[in-house]
Symmetry: C2
Subunit: 170 residues, 2 copies
DNA sequence: TCCTTAAGTACATAGCATGAACCATTATTG
DNA sequence: CAATAATGGTTCATGCTATGTACTTAAGGA
């Protein structure tokens, strides 16, 4: 089917005026489908990780925030995960129940609770980041070496353009 | 920061052996971040559409299935959306309540209900697909004309590679 | 006719996420 | 310094996403 369309396009290409519109139509449809499929694949990946590590997706995402920082606050997590702070309470509760995280009172400010990984949490977090790193390395190795740089810069273009369209839409 | 790393990489590049590993590390991290951001942007887009059209995301997705086919069955929808059939019942109920869809009994098989768009549903569906088509066209137009083909083929490579990694993971 | 399979629904359960109301505690300001 | 405002967190009500099991009805084959 795609081949047929491509063929039609090809025969029309160097002849007429509105063939440009046809090409644009075809390309934007293609773009839409590809993005759709890629996003779908990523969704499956996160769902897979959640099952593999037996931790809900939101909690996994939270666990991965402790990359650099030793301690995080509920507010900080709320901002990084881009969710309401009431949501963070739930997520932290889940992680505390699993003994992956523990919260201590901030000695300076009694309102604040400092959330930190337990050693069990550090282990899980490490495993998780190792796994996803490995996954993306495998992905990279699927490309031909010359393609790698190109794919990355294409994604950079795509991301920037998506950002631009988003802003232009307000 | 990225510039510094890139610089380090550059000075190391044509000299030593394990600089390849460093490059791979850098690139896979980059890849991970880019994919993350792109997926995030898509999530925001669907959430935006849901608010704009005042219809839950799952129902929107369902509405978009009536592209070619006149009627769909619950089972068919379940397969296309890749959700449990009990989920489909809920989704259809929502759409029926909004008078966007109606179900009639299959004259041939009393077990089956044929789901079809109402005229109101057709209108919404059309609006929706027009909007997303426009969006992707805008996106395409953000690229330089020469880039368009390249970005698309890069996404094709990416999609194929993700598929490959997924299969290789079982 | 009996049994199996298929289509669809109901219900219990779980996760994701928000927003409003609320309780402490800290900061500000008159 | 005391009243008030702002901040950090929790609780609760609500709604969407999604699954799986059990159930009903219908179709179709042995």
């Amino acid at each position: 089917m795609a081949a047929i369309i491509a063929n039609i396009l090809h025969t029309m290409n160097n002849r007429e005026n509105d063939s440009i519109d046809v090409l644009l139509d075809y390309q934007s449809q293609k773009l839409q489908d590809l993005i759709e499929e890629i996003v779908q694949c990523c969704k499956e990946r996160t769902s897979f990780l959640s099952k593999k590590f037996d931790i809900p997706e939101a909690e996994l995402r939270c666990l991965m925030l402790f990359g650099e920082e030793r301690y995080l606050t509920a507010k900080g997590i709320s901002q990084k995960l881009d969710v309401a702070k009431s949501r963070v309470t739930k997520i932290i509760n889940g992680l505390v129940k699993k003994r992956l995280v523990e919260s201590i009172d901030d000695p300076k400010d009694a309102r604040i609770k400092l959330i930190g990984l337990t050693s069990k949490g550090q282990k899980k977090s490490r495993e998780l980041s190792d796994f996803t790193k490995d996954l993306h390395q495998k992905l990279l190795l699927e490309f031909e070496p010359e393609q790698r740089k190109m794919v990355i810069s294409c994604l950079e273009i795509l991301r920037a353009s998506m950002e631009a369209v988003k802003n232009q839409m307000v």
